[in-house]
């Protein structure tokens, strides 16, 4: 019963605030019921310039959806903010930095903070190197296990079709 009630409450809240569960299920706040009105915008800054920066940003309201395609009102506001900053002549990196400073590291696809960046980018390679090392050790074991069988002499490097077919057939037979 409580759960039911809570779900209802949540729904209502979500209705007008934001939707985390499904990105494109946007909540339309009162007044925006049927139209996506175009915001009076500074036409000197093209949408493409805004999107080029928004592409790399993530608004906490839309989990994992890049800012340039997220349709919530919060994201529309953020894009307007980018537009205003661009109009004020602020550079791309400064804009990104300002977003990170205001909303935290989560707004960018790879952390800006050097330590977090290193943690994010280097860790997988360390694990990968360990995997490669283990594989290399396996090879060594294989090689060291026994002497190679006497190399088959006269194995022609150039081969006829018949020879190839024979080997193929052998291969196939062995597989069954």
């Amino acid at each position: 019963m409580l759960k039911q009630l809570r779900n209802r409450l949540k729904l209502q809240r979500r209705a007008a605030c934001f939707q985390i569960m499904s990105g494109f299920v946007i909540a339309l706040a009162a007044g925006f019921l049927f139209a996506h009105p175009l915001i009076a915008q500074d036409d000197t800054i093209a949408d493409d310039a805004v999107n080029a920066i928004a592409k790399d940003l993530y608004c906490p309201v839309c989990e994992n959806i890049p800012l340039d395609v997220c349709p919530t009102q919060a994201c529309i506001d953020w894009r307007e903010d980018i537009r205003e900053q661009l109009a004020a002549g602020i550079t791309r990196q400064q804009i990104i930095d300002s977003f990170v400073a205001r909303y935290g590291e989560r707004v960018i696809g790879t952390p800006q903070d050097p330590f977090l960046r290193a943690l994010a980018l280097v860790t997988p390679w360390i694990v990968g190197l360990i995997a490669l090392g283990t594989a290399a050790m396996t090879f060594r074991r294989w090689r060291g296990a026994s002497r190679p069988p006497v190399a088959q002499p006269g194995l022609p490097l150039t081969h006829t079709d018949e020879d190839y077919r024979q080997r193929l057939e052998n291969d196939l037979r062995e597989r069954r």
Binding site: L9, K10, Q12, R13, R14, A15, A16, C17, F18, I20, A27, A29, A30, C59, P60, V61, T72, Q73, A74, I76, D77, W78, E80, D81, E84, A101, R102, Y103, G104, R106
Partner: protein, 190 residues
């Protein structure tokens, strides 16, 4: 027992190995560790807004540039409201919050608004639109929202004179709800 030495100790042939080798144990512990981390993450994810106990401390810099630290407000009741300009219910409750603030600002009551993922210009426009006079601040780094585990906006916490959370509202609030609670705390009922 311990000092009995077996004379043939060194000649013992180890039996078929029992137990696990060091590498295996390390691997097993590693897997267990990963599981523990995900267990902690799940616990963290399932944390809900605190409804009692000490309110997480934070420092705000308001849109007016004033610095406010929650723990400095000890002895006063704090109404902490999370909002955003793009949120419908926040618009509905804004006048109520302002009215409550006007009614109680001369008593031991503080009201703080924290703007969640809002841009400065939009937040300022919101404040102007509703004539809000209590201190409002951006949630720099979206950290305060994290500490209070908020799941959306609006959410409102009432913190008592001792710095403990007295009430939490997950829905929009109205004057009635807030003033009842403030009156109760002002009377010293906890």
């Amino acid at each position: 027992m311990a000092d009995v030495k077996l004379p043939f100790e060194e000649t013992l042939i180890p039996p078929a190995r029992r137990g696990l080798s060091l590498g295996s144990i390390v691997l097993l512990v590693g897997v267990a560790l990963v599981a523990v981390i995900f267990g902690l993450a799940l616990l963290r994810q399932n944390q809900t807004q605190p409804t009692s106990g000490p309110a997480p401390d934070f420092t705000l810099i308001t849109y007016e540039g004033e610095e406010i630290k929650l723990s400095d407000l000890r002895g006063r009741i704090v109404v902490l409201n999370f909002w955003a300009s793009w949120c419908g219910p926040c618009r509905v409750e804004a006048p109520a919050l302002q009215n409550v603030w006007q009614r109680y600002q001369d008593q031991d009551v503080m009201m703080l608004g924290v703007a969640y993922t809002d841009t400065d210009s939009k937040a300022q426009a919101f404040i102007d639109e509703f004539g809000i006079t209590y201190p409002n601040a951006p949630d720099t780094g979206t950290r305060i929202s994290d500490w209070y585990n908020i799941q959306g906006v609006p959410e409102t916490f009432i913190i008592d004179q001792e710095g403990n959370i007295a009430r939490f509202y997950i829905t929009q609030v109205n004057e009635n709800i807030l003033s009842t609670e403030i009156e109760r705390l002002l009377r010293g009922e906890f």
